[in-house]
């Protein structure tokens, strides 16, 4: 494992906090975009050598997670004309604390998880777990459909970090398939957000629990 992996993972973790503390959706999307691009770089670093396959994987990841998906989300917030997550179920400071608690627990207990011992020295497992926790937090505590999509993206980023452990075991095709799935999922979510907005003239998901003719 490369010694640059840990600093990059720390940036990934800090970006989790940016997303948790931000109320502007634009800031959240930018943070997720940077996080996605960092993950792409991470693939290259984790591979160690700059082989064709690794570089291509990294480029595809950067292109999708760093540029294409954020671009779609930016379009979505422009269409539905919302700027902020106004009234989350759990407040920003409280979710920052929850995220910090989750990160702390992830770091403290990652050693005790029964997984391959090759990379226990690095931050990969704690970073993956705490990013997944952050994703869940955003998914469950934010009201707007679009911020929930951001939460989904962070969740996927966490799983992606976890996948770094299995870099050599998982074939390229599977990884590319996962990325494609992600892309399609975001695409569908974009369409759904558009429909929700058209139908309810709001993207607050709690409106969906009301019956409507």
């Amino acid at each position: 494992m490369n010694r640059f992996v840990d600093p990059v993972l720390i940036f990934v973790l800090l970006l989790n906090f940016v997303v948790l503390g931000a109320s502007r959706i634009r800031t959240m999307i930018q943070a997720v975009a940077v996080q996605g691009a960092l993950l792409g770089i991470l693939i290259m670093l984790a591979h160690g050598s700059f082989m064709f396959i690794g570089v291509m994987m990294a480029l595809v990841a950067i292109l999708l997670k760093g540029i294409l998906i954020p671009h779609m989300l930016f379009r979505a917030i422009r269409d539905v004309a919302i700027r902020r997550e106004v009234d989350p179920l759990v407040g920003f400071i409280a979710s920052l604390f929850l995220g910090a608690g989750g990160t702390g627990l992830a770091v403290l207990f990652s050693r005790t998880l029964p997984i391959i011992h090759a990379d226990t020295g690095t931050l990969i497992v704690p970073a993956a777990v705490s990013t997944v926790i952050t994703g869940f937090l955003i998914l469950t505590t934010r009201r707007k459909a679009i911020t929930q999509v951001v939460g989904y993206l962070i969740l996927e980023n966490g799983i992606f970090v976890f996948g770094l452990l299995l870099m050599d075991a998982i074939p390229l095709l599977v990884e590319l398939g996962v990325l494609l799935d992600l892309f399609v999922a975001i695409f569908v979510m974009g369409i759904i957000i558009h429909k929700i907005n058209k139908e309810f003239s709001s993207v607050n998901t709690h409106m969906l629990s009301e019956l409507k003719e």
Binding site: D6, I10, F17, G21, I93, A100, G104, V107, L108, P126
Partner: protein
């Protein structure tokens, strides 16, 4: 006091002692501590003027202001008590004492003992307590409001500061500020550099809050409703106001020298070169503060606690990284 007892720490680099001597080092330390702080305000002002395309006040304007203020007479309201007069004196005194606990660059602090970081943090708390009490002593509603804001924000900044000290203590294995900031961090261990970066960021936020710089407070504001620190000193005049401004500059200088040791733990190995490095480093920090002030607007008042909590989390995260 403990000046002589710490001669051993002074001799750490050996040659320091032969070149200038312990007392010489202490004199230089005190001289810089007394003379340099207002210069930082001048540098910040010049940087901001440069960004604004103005000439700005002269570099030494803060010194002129202080000299002018100290020549003036004082006016004390008849409703105030001794607390009002004690505020500026305690503020300046605590800043001076705190300055004696901090190593300037590679050079050890004149006063140093295990656990002095707690004294350092609470010296500022004592000064703040008296400034706030003096503000309340005037009975002005505005000043009471400013005092309430000041103590609210600083009670959020304090845990951040302590988490930073915790990280530094863990890294250096020492409980005194001189030992913590001696620059000999274990760079071989993986988490050292990330933890130092986190502490540096957190300390910078604490520095901006404690010294009421722009994203959190505006030292030049003229609107009482938005003031935090400045509103507390509205009733002070003449030498008392001078002492407050001098103490505030000194506080900025002291916090800046802590930050400098964290972000740039370098040494030339030569006494005079190290003093030069320290002075240059502090001026660079002043320029950075000026740049931040030029590029950012003030945060909304509600946003300030969020940012402070984020600063706490940054340094707490540093602790977690090291405990792993």
């Amino acid at each position: 006091m403990a000046v002589a007892t710490d001669a051993a720490i002074f001799c750490r680099s050996g040659q320091n002692l032969s070149e200038v001597g312990v007392m010489g080092q202490v004199f230089i330390h005190i001289f810089i501590l007394l003379v340099m702080p207002p210069l930082l305000l001048g540098v910040i002002g010049k940087t901001k003027a440069l960004f604004g395309g103005r000439n700005g006040p002269p570099l030494l304007q803060a010194y002129y202001d202080l000299i002018k203020l100290f020549q003036k007479g004082s006016v004390f309201s008849t409703t105030t008590t001794w607390v009002f007069r004690a505020g500026p004196v305690v503020g300046l005194g605590t800043a001076l004492l705190a300055g004696m606990l901090i190593p300037f660059g590679e050079h050890s602090a004149p006063v140093s003992f295990a656990g002095d970081m707690i004294l350092f943090a609470y010296l500022f708390a004592l000064g703040r307590f008296f400034t706030a009490s003096a503000a309340m002593d005037t009975g002005s509603a505005f000043e009471g409001m400013g005092a309430a804001r000041e103590v609210t924000f600083s009670c959020l900044a304090e845990p951040a500061l302590f988490f930073c000290f915790l990280v530094l203590a863990k890294l250096s294995g020492s409980l005194s500020l001189t030992g913590m900031l001696d620059g000999a961090f274990p760079f071989g261990v993986g988490a050292t550099v990330p933890a130092l970066v986190l502490v540096g960021a957190s300390l910078f936020i604490v520095l901006l809050v404690e010294n009421s710089r722009i994203p959190f407070d505006d030292p030049n504001t003229h609107l009482e409703l938005t003031m935090i620190h400045e509103v507390m000193v509205l009733d002070h005049s003449g030498p008392a106001l001078g002492m407050i401004q001098y103490g505030a500059a000194m506080k900025l200088f002291v916090m800046g020298s802590v930050l400098l040791r964290v972000v740039a733990p370098f040494t030339f190995g030569n006494t005079w070169a190290d003093w030069g490095l320290f002075v240059a480093g502090i001026l660079v920090i002043a320029v950075v503060i000026g740049v931040v002030e030029s590029m950012m607007a003030r945060f909304k008042m509600i946003l300030v606690p969020t940012v402070l909590v984020a600063a706490c989390l940054l340094s707490a995260f540093g602790v977690i990284l090291l405990l792993r």
